[in-house]
Assembly symmetry: C2
Homo-oligomer: 304 residues x 2
């Protein structure tokens, strides 16, 4: 059972494997610093793809020993992304990670029909594991970054990805809260109809290995006192592991509020691809990037 | 300048006026307790409308002296709501408050064409003032409770209500952040088009007494470091007073996350009515209800 973000790397290390990560345009301080830590700790071999000169300079700036990395020269962001994704698609590396390349260029390489990592018709989504001091366990949150307004099929895929991630943390049957503004099904909120369908699918075993309920508001999902006071009959009982949001506009400020005002830390990754894809904002801290690398390694074991 | 929720009552008291509040079906502990405190502190006269016997019993349960209230007998929830709203519409009372009556029944009375409190074609919305330990000042948030998916006109009204509230707290020119998942205008997110229109309206003075920008994510709105790192040119500078959300589904879990995981406290009220309307969840604490009463009094002075 992994109950905090810092335990992810321990779990990967104790499995005794090193994961090969191809990093596209690997030349900003936080990317280099986070990977160097993972290399030193012994669970990652990092292939840094970009301008060799710039990568070595960044290593010196951050106190990293460049000889611990494999450096592969690339002319520009776009070709760095193509090389990194291509190596991961062919199995030369286990994981691909975005460095300083723009998100659009990077994702175009990931979604490339011939050389990319996304199977035909697969739903690509983003799941975060969040550690908040005021909650008694990790919370898995989706979708913080990719799908603006998910339809029913996309919501089902989002739930399945989050369930698979929670199970890798040792939660055999995670509780999935389908988050709305209240617990009422209402035609004012089309997401509540999708949620009703998903609960029926879970009941029929079409979404498996979980306890699912929604719509519920955040209090019913995460606060046992509210469940008691409101008298709502929900198997979540204020003890949710996973929060699924109706839109990116809803999920994004929620998780950022936890970071900014709740002292939260997170690790996240793209799901739906054939191999783990690490994609973060350029402004993300070194620690966040390190957690994301550890999470990708943890999830890579899943594919073996 | 009012910089914390506890200062609201001080500001009202120092103005030396008592506000008359009509409370519909005033017979739950938290409603009675919150009003008793406001009465004792000297800024409220409370007209408790409901079953006299039940109100007196609730007073005894909560240690309130029933002789400090004016009790008006009513047969049921619905007539209690009609009496409370009616008295406020005619000016016999300054503020109307929901007690144990259901939200639907209460709002139907508020929106009644002939005896209600909502002018024709007025936008009814909900604004909260939130106090969070990790933010350096109060945050005004809208819409936490009423409009599911506001259109442009409704968003403009929401902004104006929040600006009016912030100004009552002494913020002459509040900073309004129009919250999205990022700072990019995108046709994937129709709200970002509305936000662009609103910024132009603010520039033309059609929305006045504010600094407005959006779309911005929560970090650009509330974290100066993120503004610096991302290099986004925004007058908000990570110092927003007001957060306007694209939907109730986005705003509701956000503010509940602040309460549950960020140690937040809030006061909120319905805006757009001719007089302040206090409406809270039945499960809200006595302190929250007390803050809402103080906020309504503060905003009532606005109408004088």
């Amino acid at each position: 059972m992994i109950t905090s973000l810092s335990q992810m790397a321990d779990a990967v290390r104790s499995a005794g494997k090193r994961y090969r990560i191809a990093v596209a345009w690997a030349q900003d301080n936080n990317t280099v610093g986070s990977l160097y830590r993972a290399v030193i700790e012994g669970f990652v071999d990092a292939l840094m793809i970009g301008s060799r000169e710039q990568i070595i300079r960044t290593c010196h700036d951050t106190g990293a020993d460049p000889s611990r990395f494999t450096i592969i020269d690339a002319d520009d962001e776009k070709s760095a992304a193509a090389i990194a994704v291509g190596m991961t698609a062919t199995g030369e590396t286990d994981i691909v990670m975005k460095g300083l390349v723009g998100t659009d260029k990077f994702l175009r390489a990931v979604m490339d029909k011939d050389h990319g990592l996304l199977p035909p018709r697969a739903v690509m989504s983003y799941v975060c594991a969040v550690e908040i001091p005021a909650y008694h366990k990790l919370l898995f949150i989706t979708d913080t970054a990719v799908i603006p307004f998910p339809d029913l099929d996309q919501k089902v895929a989002m739930a399945e990805y989050a369930i698979a991630m929670a199970r890798r943390f040792g939660i055999a049957k995670p509780s999935v809260a389908l988050i709305g503004a209240s617990e009422k099904v209402s035609s004012h909120f089309p997401s509540t109809h999708d949620y009703s369908v998903m609960c029926k699918m879970a009941q029929r075993g079409q979404i498996s290995s979980c306890v699912m309920d929604g719509p519920v508001d955040l209090f019913l999902a995460c606060d046992p006192d509210s469940v008691r006071i409101k008298g709502v009959d929900t198997p979540l009982a204020g003890d949710a592991d996973i929060l699924l949001f109706p839109s990116l506009e809803a999920c994004n400020p929620f998780y950022k509020g936890l970071m900014l005002f709740g002292g939260g830390e997170l690790a996240g990754m793209i799901c739906g691809t054939t191999r783990p894809v690490v994609l973060m904002s350029r402004s993300e801290s070194e620690l966040s990037k390190y957690y994301c690398v550890a999470l990708a390694c943890l999830m890579a074991t899943h594919n073996e």
